[in-house]
């Protein structure tokens, strides 16, 4: 590990990234930006996995990161397809505009 960088630093960085991602989903209204924020949250978890794996000397945490990356890629494929479909039909991906279902 780089000298001077300890587990707690990694954990703080990952916590900050996760919070930024969560705020992004809650505040931003553009579906693509919301989706990017979700990716940020997943990568914050990846960072935490790698950091913990490093500090414990356990490889398993690094393997989990590959799983998360693979899942995130699958989500991108589906998510972008859905967003494109919505855009074609409505000409907007602002989630406030896409709200016909109410009751």
């Amino acid at each position: 590990m780089i000298p001077g960088v300890s587990m707690i630093h990694i954990l703080i960085l990952s916590g900050v990234l996760f919070t930024l991602g969560a705020l992004g989903v809650l505040i931003r209204r553009n579906a693509i930006v919301m989706f990017m924020s979700i990716e940020l949250m997943l990568n914050a978890a990846n960072l935490a996995f790698v950091g913990f794996a490093r500090s414990m000397g356990a490889l398993s945490g690094q393997v989990f990161v590959f799983f998360v990356i693979a899942v995130a890629a699958a989500e991108v494929a589906i998510g972008l397809a859905l967003i494109v479909a919505v855009y074609r039909n409505r000409g907007s991906i602002d989630v406030d505009m896409v709200s016909d279902l109410k009751g």
Binding site: L11, S14, F18, G21, A22, V25, A31, M34, F35, I38, M41, L42, A44, A45, N46, A48, F49, G51, F52, M56, A58, S60, G61, F64, F67, V68, V71, A74, E75, I78, G79, L82, I83, A85, V86, R88, N89, R90, V95, V98, S99, D100, L101, K102, G103
Partner: protein, 479 residues
Amino acid sequence: MSSSDLLSVAPVLIISVWAILLLLLDLFIKNKGLTASLAAAGVAAALVVVIVRFGSDQVAFSGMIVADTFSDFLQIVILITALLGIAVAYDYLRRMNMERGEYYTLMLFTVAGMLLMSLAGDLILIFLAIELLSVPLYVLSGFARPEKGSEEAAMKYFILGAFSSAFLVYGIALIFGSTGTTNMAGVAASIAGNHANLTLLTIAIPMLLVGLGFKVAAVPFHMWTPDVYQGAPSAAVAFMSVGAKVAGFAALLRIFVSALPELSQTWGPVVVAISAATMIWGNVAAIAQSNIKRMLAYSSIAHAGYILMALAAAADPSVSEEAVSAALFYLFAYLFSNLGAWTVVLALERSEGRGLLIEDYAGLGRRRPALALAMAIFMLSLIGVPPTVGLIGKFLLFRVTIDAGLTGLAIVGVVTSLISAYFYLGVVIKMYMGTGEPESRSEGWLNRSAGLTALVTFLLGVLPGPILILARSSGFLTP
């Protein structure tokens, strides 16, 4: 890895291999009824395997898979849901002009994810299984594309679903950091041996609850449910309203009862609060609904609250086994009552979203007496009125909640059940007292599904014995 390891995941293997083959075969199949039958055959084969190996407890793949009676019971529930889901989908897809073979393939992938959820012995596998079940479900919600409502439902479900899985995976990362493992038995051992970092665990538990609470539609993570249920194709909703809930509860029970029993003081009260809020909000909000799909969506939220009572009771180690079996029985009961109600919704729905108001059910009692009787049985069962299985399910839940010393929660459950009688009986009264000429579909598999679910709902209310014994023997979670 040995051959017995493979046997423990045989149902998942059958379903996933069959799904991949079917994806190819479907290209050459003109008659989509054949695709549906082939999909159903795959599910039936998996069901046979589960029933054959029922009762043989086994920990496989170095603790990744825990195949015990708990998972066997849930797998049976999931596979029956899938069979009924296929049966009700065929005619619906054809008349709504979305007869595409992928529907069944996607359903099979979802089923594979649900089965894995019930078999998972490791938190990472829970995450992978939840994604395997969710990603095809996002597509199924949008299956009526280019219909705007369906697309909107899919997008909402997708964004909120991905958001909640991010919480789940972060919670898992924190548990890994705290205990050095993601294996559930390992996590439990590490906490029991005081090797775990409790601060990280205290942050991780709420994150797991957010992630899984979303899947089972618990308040305050339920906002997606009414919109998705209303917008998505009804056949897909019929399937996912049961399947996703069963899988979500499989994971919740497995994680909290077998991996985190030592911390029940921390999560117990939180689950009590979520359960009470879910029962109250689900039932109260359902009263105001005029669309039957939205009403059933809130009803499904409310039922998540009832099953959460069992999780709250399971925080007390002396009754945890009993609580788990009560939850299992309730899920079995919910499968038939809820999927049955959706079958009737499918029979009355017409193109462009007509036939979905509770108003449209007026006069069904005269026009289709058998269908109306089935609907009445489902509604009574969802309230919990004798002689239906819903009563026995609720009785078991209330009793175990009181045994766990949570009398207040049980009272909330009883009071909200009374409130729920208002909107469920509203449908029954509309069917028999209202005047109207409802148009409904009479198709073989739809009628057979409605008849079968109504029959089981009624019969299990009179003779619950066999399933009760089965649920009792499945309440123990292999550590």
